[in-house]
């Protein structure tokens, strides 16, 4: 059984924000109104953290793209009262929007603040509704949503692979962010496959995970010589 | 009590100050080799072909002059050296006083070690100089003196020089009997001859070599062997023989040995007249003595503090090192423990000084030997004033 994981090379990442945009377009993530945005209710499945270090003028800036970390031991699924968030055998942590009751316990429990909530009904201009990605269901008000590692793409890839009776190739299943990263800083693949790029990079001495000591075992691994 | 303590303090201070005037003779100048390698000098400067090619080879039979002359050479090429350091991404070494001293001794000492001799020339020389008339080499030659082939121990030039010195009186006698001309030889010739003998000798396995001389020990020998009774060095000693300070003895060991050889007939005669015992050398003594003689040239002549002040002003030192300039006020710095510190401190502060000069569009102040001497005298005077 594959174990899907993401490696983000922070040395290569410039922080251009394309992953954020790609994700929003691919996953039909709603754009909240400006007033809502002002109240910290924007929805980015892929967010960007900025860290400033040092004293002027010797400032170092690190920008860290932050998707859902798809922990192997996810604190969010432990607390969900209705099985609305789950981890599947391939390690993807999913969210079932039509089952979620909106208690936001998973958001409170997530140490990475990776989840977002539909505070209002998502709205689009009629024209924009035309170009929604049909592979991804639209969310409704009052439910929690988050990065799915573009799980719908996995389905397509699986179908293709099944049809051709072959295993999934390394790099065949790519979330939107990894696919379009201009810096080629995001890698995606199967951690169980020792040949995969992701496996090799995860063994790099530069590899680290956010808040590793919490024991959540995130499957998003960062590479950086800094830190 | 307090009075005594202050007295002791002042005594110590005076001792240290006077000590700063003179450099102690090294007991093993080759210690500097370690510094030379560890600090990475060897990566650019080769010694006789061993080492980097970026900078000049230090052992190509060059003479680097007295201490302050060496200091001036090093000082003047600091900017260029720094540039190379940056270009080659090397770390610029800094030195402690001890390291700097070792290094300087080492560089100075290099010439003493001499150059390898030429075998063919040696063979020719043996004939030319007439040695072959008495000594036998590879079965040819006279029978009067010992066969060189049995004397493998002469393979080292210095050992040979020592042996020659030691058998000088007896040889001189024999030669007078046979009415032979005393052969004058040069240092290179000793090298060549010993190289030839080494090759021709049957006993190549008994390859006896001498260790490079210990100048400090040499100084003791100079007194012990009685040289001081005739020769003076730096005003010390009798003036019967030549003043050794006035001779140019900054030559390789064999050159000095050759000079000794050449003047030995006159000396032997004089000694006979005055009934002085002819000094014999054994072991490493000859090497040590010659090393001492070699190091006589290391001392500088004293400079003129007044001219030094002029150098201090002309070269622009005054703009930074006085009246609250960027650099430290030199009249307030810690006095030198030893003379080497002038070079050590100048070396170590050079990059900062280089940067500041560059930033302010100033040139690097180059100092000639005389300027260096005078400057040194001036610095000592202002530092001692305190």
């Amino acid at each position: 059984m594959p174990k899907w994981a993401m490696v983000i090379d922070l040395d290569k990442c410039t922080g251009c924000g394309d992953c954020m945009a790609a994700c929003k377009v691919e996953n039909n993530v709603a754009i909240v109104s400006p007033e809502q945005a002002e109240e910290n209710r924007v929805m980015f499945w892929m967010d960007m953290m900025t860290i400033y270090e040092g004293e002027y003028p010797n400032i170092k800036v690190t920008r860290i793209p932050k998707p859902c970390y798809h922990c192997d031991n996810p604190p969010c699924i432990k607390v969900c009262p209705v099985h609305a968030t789950y981890i599947n055998p391939e390690g993807l942590v999913g969210q079932i929007y039509h089952r979620c009751i909106g208690c936001r316990y998973c958001m409170a429990a997530c140490p990475y603040t990776a989840k977002v909530f539909n505070w209002y009904e998502p709205e689009w201009a009629d024209e924009f509704k035309t170009c929604m990605n049909p592979d991804v269901s639209l969310r409704m008000k009052g439910v929690v949503e988050k990065c799915s590692f573009c799980a719908h793409r996995l389905q397509h890839v699986k179908e293709d692979a099944d049809a051709e009776d072959r295993p999934i190739n390394d790099g065949e299943y790519m979330p939107a962010c990894a696919e379009s990263c201009p810096a080629d800083a995001i890698f995606f693949g199967d951690l169980e496959n020792k040949e995969s790029k992701v496996y090799k990079l995860s063994r790099s001495p530069r590899a680290f995970k956010e808040l590793e000591d919490l024991g959540t075992e995130p499957k998003v691994i960062y590479l950086s010589k800094r830190e | 009590m307090k009075f005594i303590l202050t007295k002791i303090f002042f005594f110590l201070l005076i001792v240290s100050v006077t000590q700063a005037q003179e450099l102690k003779l090294p007991s093993n100048p080759l210690d500097g080799r370690i510094v030379f390698e560890e600090k990475g000098c060897i990566q650019c400067h080769a010694i006789g072909g061993y080492g980097g090619t970026v900078a000049p080879d230090l052992a190509k039979d060059q003479y680097y002059g007295s201490f302050l002359e060496l200091a001036s050479i090093i000082w003047n090429h600091i900017p260029e050296m720094n540039r190379k350091f940056r270009e080659l991404k090397m770390e610029r070494p800094t030195f402690t006083g001890k390291e700097m001293l070792d290094l300087i001794y080492f560089i100075y000492y290099l010439r003493y070690l001499g150059e390898p001799g030429s075998v063919s020339n040696g063979k020719k020389l043996l004939t030319e100089k007439g040695c072959i008339n008495c000594h036998k080499v590879s079965g040819k030659g006279g029978d009067i003196a010992p066969d060189f082939a049995d004397l493998g121990e002469y393979s080292s030039p210095l050992f040979m020089a020592q042996a020659m010195w030691n058998h000088g009186p007896s040889m001189l006698e024999t030669m007078k009997e046979l009415n032979l001309k005393y052969p004058e030889i040069s240092g290179d010739e000793i090298n060549d001859i010993s190289a030839y003998i080494r090759q021709a000798s049957a006993l190549t396995s008994v390859d006896i070599r001498m260790s490079p001389g210990n100048p400090a020990n040499g100084k003791k020998l100079f007194r012990k062997k009685g040289c001081v009774n005739c020769h003076s060095v730096g005003g010390e000693g009798k003036k019967t023989g030549p003043n050794l300070s006035e001779l140019d003895l900054n030559e390789s060991v064999t050159d000095i040995a050759a000079q000794m050889w050449n003047h030995s007939p006159a000396m032997i005669d004089y000694m006979k007249e005055e009934k002085i015992k002819y000094p014999m050398f054994e072991g490493n003594e000859m090497a040590d003595l010659i090393a001492y003689l070699y190091f006589i040239g290391f001392e500088d002549e004293p400079g003129d503090p007044v001219k030094g002040r002029m150098v201090f002003e002309e070269k622009g030192c005054v703009s930074c090192h006085e009246n609250g300039g960027v650099g430290p006020d030199l009249s307030k710095i810690k006095p030198f423990d030893s003379r080497i510190q002038i070079l050590q401190r100048m070396w170590n502060h050079a990059p900062r000084m280089e940067d500041l000069l560059l930033i302010r569009n100033n040139e690097w102040p180059e100092l000639s030997k005389e300027e260096m001497q005078n400057l040194y005298a001036y610095l000592i005077s202002i530092i001692q004033k305190k």
Partner: protein, 447 residues
Amino acid sequence: MEEKKKTTVDIDEALYRPIYETGKGFYITVGVLLMIILFAAFMYIRQVYYGLGVTGMNQPVTWGFYIVNFVFFIGISHAGTLISAILRLSKAEWRRPITRMAEVITAIVLAIGGLHPIIDLGRPDRVLNIFTAGRLQSPLLWDVTSITAYFTASTVYLYLPMIPDIAKLRDRGGKLRWFYDFLSWGWQGTEHQKKVLNRAINILMVMVIPIAVSVHTVISYIFSMTLQPGWHSTIFGPYFVVGAIFSGIAALLIVMIAFRKFFHLENYLKLIHFRYLSTLLLIMSLLWFYFTFSEYLTGIFGAEPHEMDVILYKMTGPYAIFFWGMVICNFIIPVIVLSFKKFKTIKGILFASITVVIGMWLERLNIVIPSLANPRLELSTGMYFPSLTEWSLFIGALAVFVLGYVLFSKFFPIISIWEIEEGREESIKEVEERVKSYLPGPAGTTE
């Protein structure tokens, strides 16, 4: 049979009066409360219609007033059952006039508190999902279970001791006879019935104390089961229980003083009751301080960076005013007021109790929000400003509580009449015997 009852009742006529006499004040109070509640209901319906966006919650601060109030109300609920059960169990005779009041607080406030998580839901229409697809592993469902159990137990515990009084009301006749008839469960006051009732109450007393303690522990689990700094703490269980009892006593005192004033119960609720209870309050205040101190001491001593972020946010950051307000309200004021006899008047006690209730609410606020507002990762700290919706639902909840109390006192005596009677008739003798039994007997007797 009826006549016999009537004669004995007259002494405690003051306790029946509120049930049979309805003044203008009652209607005005109920009217005002209903309006508040209606407005709150309107705001809630609006929230359901538009979504949780109408509240002030936002992305890092995903929980706000609703969860704060949930914890707060459940905490208040400890007033009752726990206190009355402990007092009953320890046969403290002075308990007789106050147990019912305490129990009523529990029942009403528990119902209100229990509703708060549902108010907080983004999709209340899907609340039944917890029945079809619930996860008992989630601390939230532990809450559901334990609150249901506690609510059931405390309602039963309120109801059983009320049966004799309901029978009295039934026997007095008048309005709603069928209602009292139904509720009195055929109580005739026979010895057997008394025995059965006492036995049942005794079993309940024993049961209800662990349930009450566990409920608040479980509430604390909502927080301490997560990994969040400021929440992930083992001390939270007892800390919450202590806080709950603390706020419960304060709430009880407020209610007692209110009823004493409005129902003129000075004869029943004497200064001695307040003295005893306020001493208990003082002890709880000290205990609370001890727990708070330990909680923050461990945090500060360990100085884990994320933990420190939260602590600094509370102590020196935007929440400093709430944090230090909490310390003043919960510790400094009650200790000063309750330690000196001079201040320990009814007014003083009322003041201290009100500050304690406010302080405990601030404590809940201090627990819930700063931890959420300080994400561990390098994101900006959040801030939370409750909207009108949250304020009106908060006030609505308080109004429901007052209304519930007013209505209860309209239908049932607020002081347990039969227990007072029992006290008068039997206790003096019983206590004398009991006290004798505590004391060492004549030499040589062994038992």
